[in-house]
């Protein structure tokens, strides 16, 4: 009956209870949705980096990434690719010749990174072909095509079909020049990537710099499932022990740290909201206790144990808080589902977002774990908020309280 009384007591003063329930619901919705928004941004950034820049796993000569020394080649790349492809967790593998170079036009020049790729293989590990805003992705068989980022195109003032001159070092240390025709312009969520990375066919670059035909700088691996990254990386490392095998977490450690930090940050954020709400709950429950001094005095007089009176007030506080929390979570799930499907378009501030590698359309997302943690936090906060009013209730002197003194 104690539970029944506590629940009914919540609804005795509907206006007062509804005010605090709405406050809890709105506060939690704000916290949860902010968290989902940031989680969505982080998840998209990770997805974007994996699917346009690093893949899940990269294999190269140890030390290659430090200075991009073209002598540090992955020999016998075809055999390695074939071996990696036998793993069922692997979705695609691509060999890349990656060389530092200078891109020049009549309007200017810029230091860039040339990526010599086999387009059909690269499409299996990268979404770059889907991010073209102009032109196409190596559709024709013509030689010396180049696909560049919009940021670089703007810097060099080139358009589709313009020519740019690439200055590179050959395997023998000589300087060579190659004229390439812009056949595609892409735009990713990372403006730095768009400024730095250009893509050409590997055979064009092989001929230009004398790179061995069955060699690569990097072998990029895309998996069917991100969760398999560590396991597959370990397997590949065992297969090719002389090579450096790194997962995207090792290649972009900041990304992983950022993702983890966001979870902690948002939990602190929600915690602060809940603490603020706790004061509202304490106020409401104190008012409820003061309004019911006579009734609580009667309960103590007729022999209800103070521990039960304490429990009744605690239950009321928990019911009040949980009702608000449940409404807040339902509204959150609905809004996260809606915006998770349609996205939140932040194109007004897209430039700033892209500079940090974020997409201008954010799809909020949130894991089940967060809701479990939230439920625990709400119950803890409700218990803490209930302690003071409940203590006040049991400290009433029955003889005085029953007269309403």
């Amino acid at each position: 009956m104690l539970i029944q009384i506590a629940w009914r007591n919540v609804w005795r003063n509907k206006t007062r209870s509804l005010v605090i329930i709405i406050a809890v619901a709105l506060g939690l919705w704000g916290g949860i949705f902010s968290d989902a928004f940031m989680q969505g941004m982080a998840a998209q950034q990770i997805y974007s980096v994996i699917h346009t820049e690093t893949g899940h796993i990269q294999l190269n000569q140890p030390g290659f990434l430090l200075n991009h020394d073209m002598q540090m080649q992955v020999k016998d790349a075809d055999r390695i690719i074939a071996a990696i492809k036998t793993n069922s967790a692997v979705e695609g593998v691509s060999a890349i010749i990656q060389l530092p170079a200078m891109a020049s036009t009549a309007s200017g020049s810029s230091g860039i990174m040339v990526n010599g790729i086999q387009p059909s293989d690269q499409e299996k590990v990268s979404d770059l072909s889907k991010l073209l805003i102009q032109g196409d992705y190596f559709k024709s068989d013509r030689t010396n095509q180049v696909v560049i980022g919009q940021q670089l195109a703007d810097k060099l003032k080139v358009k589709l079909h313009s020519r740019i001159v690439l200055t590179l070092q050959t395997t023998t240390g000589d300087i060579v020049y190659g004229a390439f025709k812009v056949t595609g312009i892409f735009r990713t969520h990372d403006s730095e990537f768009d400024k730095q990375m250009i893509f050409v066919r590997n055979k064009d670059i092989q001929q230009l710099v004398g790179f061995p035909p069955d060699a690569a700088s990097i072998i990029t691996v895309l998996l069917n499932n991100n969760d398999d990254t560590k396991k597959v990386a370990t397997t590949i490392q065992k297969q090719f022990s002389g090579m450096q095998v790194q997962s995207w977490i090792q290649l972009s450690p900041m990304l992983q740290i950022l993702s983890g930090t966001m979870i902690q940050f948002t939990l602190i954020f929600v915690g602060i909201i809940l603490i603020a709400l706790a004061f509202g709950i304490i106020n409401t429950m104190l008012m409820a206790v003061m309004d019911r001094t006579r009734e609580i005095g009667m309960l103590l007089s007729i022999g209800m144990k103070p521990s039960k009176v304490f429990g009744m007030i605690m239950l009321e506080t928990i019911f009040l808080s949980l009702t608000g929390a449940i409404i807040g979570v339902i509204v959150s799930i609905a809004s996260i589902s809606f915006f998770g499907h349609y996205g939140i378009n932040l194109s007004i501030i897209a430039e700033g977002f892209n500079a940090f590698g974020y997409s201008s359309i954010v799809y909020p997302t949130l894991g089940v774990n967060f809701y479990i943690m939230l439920a625990i936090m709400v119950i803890i906060i409700a218990i803490i908020a209930g302690l003071f009013p409940a203590r006040r209730a049991v400290r009433l002197k029955p003889a005085e309280a029953v007269r309403g003194d």
Partner: protein, 236 residues
């Protein structure tokens, strides 16, 4: 053997600059089945005396012995338990739980005592029928008149078969018709249940029904008149 034995009971409030002697050496005994009114002017110590007998307040000195046990020596937990099992309270302002129905209000004390459901149902139905409230069992107190609410309060006080019932000005908020009805019902149950009723009152109608009238003044008993024999003594 008396149900309640009060010996040299004093209560002094020191909350103001001048100590207030609410009770000043009270000695009283109450037998089983009494229907007693404690009367006297406001501030004479009626409510304080009831609070001491009910274990709601501690005296400055003296003792309140209920069946050989001095309740003034009990700790808070034991007093709570004592009140739950041995005392019924009726308050001036009814003090029903507004979120519970009539039936639930009466059941509540037996539930606190962890009695079985059948016992609770039988006892509650009997008392609510006796109080003429059988057609209102699922109604909440706010839909009842003052007289009806006080009848429910009487049923609640009696439901656990206490040794005695303490009623502090139970008719103060009732009209004359409701008062008469309530007093008749209480007198009937007093005889049927053989439970001791002790009222504090200013109400002449209560005094007219009482079989013993104790008059207090300045915290002292100035008269103790047994008007009629108790039901038990009549039978014996």
């Amino acid at each position: 053997m008396p149900v309640i034995e009060i010996k040299n009971l004093t209560k002094t409030y020191n909350e103001t600059m001048v100590p207030v002697h609410a009770l000043n050496g009270i000695n009283l005994e109450f037998e089983k089945g009494e229907f007693t009114a404690i009367v006297g002017p406001s501030g004479c110590g009626k409510t304080t005396l009831l609070n001491m007998m009910g274990g709601l307040d501690q005296p400055t000195s003296g003792s309140v012995i209920i069946e050989n046990e001095d309740i003034t020596q009990m700790n808070r937990g034991a007093l709570t338990d004592f009140r739950l099992h041995h005392v019924g309270f009726i308050f001036q302002a009814y003090n029903l739980i507004p979120v519970l129905t009539v039936k639930e209000n009466v059941e509540f004390i037996m539930e606190l005592q962890h009695r079985n459901k059948k016992d609770i149902a039988d006892r509650v139905n009997y008392l609510l029928t006796a109080m003429g409230m059988e057609d209102k069992i699922n109604v909440r107190p706010k839909y009842l008149s003052g007289g009806q609410q006080q009848r429910v309060a009487v049923a609640r006080a009696l439901v656990s078969k206490p040794k005695f019932i303490l009623a502090d000005e139970p008719t103060a908020n009732l009209d004359s018709k409701s008062t008469d009805t309530l007093l008749d019902l209480m007198a009937t149950l007093n005889e049927k249940e053989q439970v001791t009723f002790i009222f504090s009152t200013h109400d002449q109608r209560v005094m007219d029904k009482a079989r013993r009238i104790i008059t207090l003044e300045d915290g002292k008993v100035i008269s103790d008149t047994k008007l009629k024999a108790t039901h038990e003594s009549i039978n014996s």
